[in-house]
Symmetry: C3
Subunit: 311 residues, 3 copies
């Protein structure tokens, strides 16, 4: 298997909006390559040899942080996890000075999660090294959208022409935001399904259809992405778990309303019997969540390699 | 020095009960080999090259976590420490889904400490990679029993025929539990010495003798293992520190009741002048605690190699 | 570029007081060598291959910990970060036993930060491996003084004959303490400028001049080091931020009182408009803070190599 050639001319990965169709295809091709290499337990430790990445997670995370760390280490890179809850920030240093200080240590990349909208973008303007957005507020989570796209492409062989329905707390979800941008760009038809109170005011594309009714929203869908109510980003509890399941939770029975070949994705962590019934959650044929997780490591390997690997 | 050949056919290390006499000998032989290699400062970085381990410590630990991390890194492996206190668990994800998510990132092993009895076993049923029990509640701590056995074998040349007395909070101790299983299996005579309130109701073997009196319990013993009162696992304070030392604390003087050649082990952390007097704690000829710690790294190297090394 | 030969005969780096003029020159020469190698993105991963360092930070730190970790990893070393806030210390183990336990795992070095004066020295007496003081109370922070010296030497080509004024909370600053020792030893003229309440009672050298007036203190200075009020080490707030800036804060205008070629250093984190005005903080020609940070990684690489590298 030959490594796909790439022509990826970006310094950072901040937003799906910055990526062309070619860029996205480049990332997905390389991700598929790395997925196969991981499957074959190939020695990839030379790809990011001598590279040291900083993870700047201003918000707690287990899965995304571990996935990035796994990706870097599989490629021979090193990772320094900063404990930003107990950092010098509380000694009165400005955010700008914290970032330029870290940048002056010349890391080979910074992987940033932040609760403030746009923080990774701001950090990228202060840094000489690649900055990767690992999720900022409800703005963007580009590697999640890329790994979701990889899961869809792996199953259907393409993204163009697919009908993708995103259910749930669209208003507060950076995953939904990045997915809407990526999928419309790649020629998929996108629908969002949410209770009015969780429906966003502005959408990234005019071609996105809005539904408040689950049944009509998923009719004919190839892919359904469920999005957890992001209670940590709501001012107050906008919804009740049990009502939510009745109206917007997915079960094997309700999935029958979509195409017979439909698959379900979720960025995780997912709430059983709030977003997804147990019977569906445990059906790996239709619920591709674990494939997303596996492909997520390969996707992040591709991103790290394209931004920080030897060029 | 040739690496001992091994015939170790286990996917996980959950309990001493799962190991045969041959398995235990295999681990101890390889541990002794790695101890000698460490002593010679040999380059072992190829043994676990490209292997990435997750540490899942749901309970705080310094020594065991550091020992495993040192073992992996001495063999060229990488380690990702998960911060499970701040994980997605509190976003409503089930334990099962957290574990299968981590497993889907395809680590080469998971090292698990958990406050719930049996959790590592449950995790092993959800995982494709080796799971190593680094201590679960008062159930088992198999690598501790193995490193204790290594310390005994290093000193006496054998385990069979030794008389081993375990003093202290047997009821709440996973170390005592694993040691009783291992030592009876390997042909040692095992005695336990505890105040009635800290005496376990069930014992893993019929051949274990119970004593409430220290003097008669350690008479003729080759090895004495002291076990700290596990206050964090008691419903309420069952014992007082000063009374405890009078009745069950060990000093050089009381050690005279055992064989003249007797050695003392402790899994640490140990409480001076509660479990062990200062004069004994500082006598490295009789108190082999630091030898246990050093051998612990070698023991964990052996376990990691047998479970995750190239076969 | 040839690696400078070294004749560095120390087991630990605890205090600047332990270093000769030759030792300091050796460290700075090697630091300059590593700075050039980093600039050239050279592969240095063999220097500390198979070396595993423990970081024992009993006080929070972001920059120093990250800088040491970066230094070790750039040289191919491995790092184990101990979480000492949640360690066995609170299970009743003595400090001595915690340290000897870690030492028995045979790390290749321990990097220690502690809030107690002299703790790294005590640890070094209990350890077989190199111990590096990464800051202890208001006693010493030797690698900070070394990286400050590197920044001065890079700019002026020498240390001898320079006039260095240190402004601020000298009484509570380990950085000022280490700098006073290093600079007087290397033939610089040292002045300290502080309000009476933050002036130390004892000074490490008789040749240090004391000033309470900023203007007369920085007159003719080549280098000015600003030191943050160390509120975390004051019994109560001894100074007010706004008064402080009027009397001891530095601006571009006040810097005019020093030599025209003067540069300003700060160990960071620095407080804008308390210690340093925004206009000065953002002038990288005069404020060499980021050069200090970059040189700090190279300085720590030199120290780790000299103490733990293959000899």
């Amino acid at each position: 298997m030959t490594k796909p050639s790439s022509n990826f001319d970006h310094d950072h990965l901040i937003s799906i909006a910055d990526l062309s169709i070619n860029d996205i295809t480049t990332i997905l091709d390389l991700a598929a390559y790395y997925a196969a290499k991981l499957e074959a337990k190939a020695d990839l430790s030379n790809v990011l040899k001598n590279k040291v990445f900083l993870t700047l997670f201003f918000e707690d995370s287990t899965r995304t942080l571990t996935s990035f760390e796994m990706a870097a280490k599989r490629l021979g890179g090193q990772v320094i996890n900063l404990n930003l809850k107990t950092s010098s920030l509380n000694k009165g240093e400005t955010f700008h000075d914290t970032i330029t200080t870290l940048n002056a240590m010349h890391p080979d990349g910074m992987i940033v999660r932040h609760s403030e909208f746009g923080a990774p973008k701001v950090i990228s303007t202060m840094s000489d090294c690649p900055v990767i957005n690992a999720g900022d507020s409800w703005n963007e989570h580009p590697t999640q959208a890329l790994l979701d796209a990889l899961a869809m492409r792996n199953h259907f062989g393409k993204l163009e022409g697919l009908t993708v329905a995103i259910i749930g707390d669209i208003a507060h979800s950076r995953v939904a935001s990045s997915n809407m941008k990526l999928l419309t760009k790649m020629g998929a038809s996108v629908r969002i399904i949410a209770p009015p109170i969780l429906m966003p005011e502005k959408l990234p594309s005019e071609n996105i259809e809005k539904f408040t009714d689950l049944k009509s929203g998923i009719k004919g869908a190839d892919v359904i992405i469920t999005i957890r109510p992001q209670k940590e980003r709501m001012q107050s509890a906008l919804i009740e778990d049990n009502t939510y399941f009745d109206d917007y939770g997915l079960s094997k029975e309700k999935l029958g309303w979509a195409k017979e070949s439909a698959i379900v994705l979720d960025p995780g962590p997912f709430l059983r019997n709030v977003q997804i019934s147990d019977d569906l959650a445990d059906d790996t044929k239709q619920f591709h969540y674990l494939k997303q997780v596996s492909g997520g490591v390969a996707t992040r390997m591709a991103v790290l390699d394209l931004l920080a690997g030897k060029k």
